[in-house]
């Protein structure tokens, strides 16, 4: 469309070499801004973090000392950081399988429906779109020990058969229901729950897209071969066909899970939760590196974080290349 109104001059064909040089120059001119920014914004910081993790640097100080691997030793010996790894690992190991499982479950259910598919899809996707910080504050109100909707709903169950059925209920009615965010037994699970709540719709949408690519004939073929039950059909046809989607969904869920921050900071601006039970890595980087100006430690955590994330992505790429269809 735009080619038409361009000036139609220069009909003489230029020599080939001249053209090649021109193309090369243009190519470098076109990629230069991106290239420079990539180096300055993505690569240089990684190198800086790597170097600073070996120092005791603080912003504002003129000089610093090289301390070798001391920062890393601290990470692996102090109990604070043990709690950090525990919280991060608990979060990732809980949120990833459950949000992937729920995403797959919801996708399968929705895909098998005739009506209302779009309605469910839209609603389940809402948390993905919403500002997580705002929703964290909404959840905080829901979890408020006295006026929150959750404990109010639980209180309604008092005096009913639920009390006999469910020890948690009996205990809550007899004394009181948990304070959720203030209780170190529940805090990390609340964070996990919100992570799942926010993320499973994303996985569902990816699985729904993956399901449209499963061929109908495969189901017929499987039935011919004696796969009678729905479970057999799922195991033999759907699950293998969703392999690539699963690899991708698991990786991206992992990377997102490692980066959990908003909810933790919103609930406990200081310290990372009751007894540091929700002291996740991103929060640790923020607290140590930015708030307390302990750049060395913060950089060491950053490096570990990068290694985890890169490792995960490399596994994903390897899996995608190796066994796209297993």
């Amino acid at each position: 469309m735009t080619a038409v109104d361009a000036p139609t001059a220069n009909p003489v064909p230029r020599p080939v070499t001249d053209h090649a040089t021109k193309e090369r120059r243009a190519a470098w001119a076109l990629t230069a801004p991106a290239l420079i920014l990539m180096v300055v914004i993505l690569l240089v910081p990684v190198i800086i973090a790597g170097m600073l993790s070996l120092t005791n640097y603080s912003l504002g100080n003129e000089s610093f000392d090289w301390v070798g691997t001391k920062n890393y030793e601290k990470l692996f010996t102090r109990s604070t950081y043990e709690k950090m790894f525990l919280a991060t690992l608990t979060y990732v190991v809980t949120v990833v399988p459950i949000s992937v499982g729920l995403g797959l479950g919801a996708a399968l259910l929705i895909n098998s429906l005739g009506r209302f598919r779009e309605v469910y899809k839209t609603i389940y996707f809402l948390p993905v779109m919403a500002t997580l910080l705002a929703m964290a504050i909404a959840w905080e109100f829901m979890l408020h020990p006295s006026i929150g909707m959750i404990n109010r709903t639980l209180e309604m169950g008092c005096g009913t058969f639920l009390e006999n059925l469910w020890p948690f209920m009996a205990e809550g009615c007899a004394t009181r229901f948990p304070v959720w965010l203030g209780d170190k037994r529940y805090a990390i699970w609340v964070i996990c729950f919100i992570g799942i709540w926010q993320g499973f719709g994303f996985n569902m949408v990816l699985y729904l897209a993956g399901l449209t690519s499963v061929h109908r004939e495969l189901y017929h073929a499987a039935e011919m071969d004696g796969a009678k039950s729905a479970w057999e059909r799922f195991r033999l046809v759907t699950w293998p066909a969703l392999g690539p989607t699963t690899v991708f969904v698991v990786t991206i869920s992992c990377i997102r899970a490692f980066q959990v921050f908003d909810t933790v900071e919103a609930f406990w601006p200081q310290g990372g939760g009751p007894n540091k039970s929700t002291y996740v890595m991103m929060f640790a980087i923020f607290e140590k590196g930015v708030q307390q100006n302990l750049i060395g430690i913060g950089s060491a955590i950053t490096m570990l974080f990068l290694i985890f994330v890169m490792f995960l992505t490399l596994i994903q790429r390897w899996l995608v290349e190796r066994k796209v269809h297993y």
């Binding site: 080619a3 000036p7 919801a106 500002t131 504050i137 909404a138 109010r152 991708f248 900071e265 890169m310």
Partner: protein
């Protein structure tokens, strides 16, 4: 339908859990503090007139006010005039809870400013990303040059680095340059979208070479080709990328939290909400939820209007 009832049952239970915080957020933004405390009033609250205590206190009549008002209340004692003035103030400070909550949301904190900042930051990020990524993607897809493979390899490598993960060294660099607490700090780290380069390159690979050759025949330079030939063909992909980028940066909290400290004029919407929460003495649930609703609403409304495009955009990263 009858056969599927159990599926609907499960899905509806899920819907309840997913919707609950949204329901509560919007509902609280309608209710008076008393209704929130006691948990009454259904979804909309009863919308009985309520008195804004602070507004009344601010209008507490002084001696001067009383003496100037003697004309209006002839033959009354000072204390009677005082009571009359107080009654007036109370009447003028009464309003429906929904009005109270939303006016407070916009007057207690500069919410409009926050929203404007959000727009400025997300829009500049997206525009710069396109200006940087599009030419590079074109060169990588359609031009032959020595080093192309190396550049593309670098793009693939950089895809491994999440910007949030390197926030600390980026923060140090910006601090060294004296750029913290500026718009630049909010925008700069996001100006390079390796994902955008990758995505647009994959898209440009599918554009026929004939189109470009024809443009060259017409005497267009490579720069002109990028903006006048490639850009128009890339509109659908760019739209999806726009949604991806805008949603991510409107909702981002981590990075603004690091580089903006204290300077309210630079707060993005999530930061503003965070400060609102920090300020609140607990009785401000209504206005706070009104703020949250205002911040969440633009994207949700846009999403409900153009669901297909949004889902496409957000799940972009899932395309191979």
């Amino acid at each position: 339908m009858t056969r599927d009832w159990w599926k609907h049952l499960i899905l509806i239970l899920g819907v309840i859990v997913v919707i609950a915080p949204f329901y509560m957020m919007v509902s609280y933004s309608f209710k008076s503090p008393g209704e929130i405390d006691r948990g009454e009033g259904g979804f909309f609250g009863r919308q009985e007139l309520m008195v804004d205590e602070r507004c009344v206190k601010l209008r507490d009549p002084s001696r001067d006010d009383i003496s100037t008002a003697t004309d209006r209340f002839p033959g009354q004692s000072d204390s009677e005039i005082r009571d009359a003035l107080l009654a007036e103030a109370t009447a003028e400070c009464s309003m429906r809870p929904v009005v109270f909550n939303y006016t407070k949301a916009f007057t207690e904190a500069p919410l409009l400013r926050y929203l404007l900042n959000g727009i400025i930051v997300t829009a500049s990020i997206f525009l710069i990303q396109v200006v940087v990524a599009l030419p590079a993607a074109y060169a990588l897809a359609k031009l032959k040059f020595w080093g192309r493979e190396a550049v593309f390899g670098l793009v693939l490598f950089c895809l491994l680095i999440p910007v949030h993960a390197i926030a600390l060294p980026l923060y140090i660099m910006l601090a060294k340059l004296g750029l913290t607490n500026t718009y630049a700090a909010l925008v700069v780290p996001w100006t390079i979208s390796v994902f955008g380069i990758f995505l647009m390159r994959q898209f440009f690979m599918t554009v026929p070479d004939d189109l470009i050759d024809a443009a060259r025949m017409d005497g267009m330079g490579e720069f002109a080709i990028v903006w006048r030939v490639m850009l128009p063909t890339a509109i659908p992909a760019l739209l999806a990328f726009a949604i991806f980028s805008i949603v991510a940066h409107w909702n981002d909290y981590f990075w603004p939290r690091i580089v903006v400290t204290g300077n309210r004029d630079l707060f993005t919407p999530p930061l503003g909400l965070r400060e609102f929460k920090g300020d609140g003495d607990g009785s401000f649930f209504g206005p706070m939820m009104a703020t949250a609703t205002v911040i969440v609403a633009p994207l949700i409304v846009a999403f409900l209007i153009a669901q297909k495009r949004f889902i496409e955009g957000i799940t972009l990263s899932g395309m191979k």
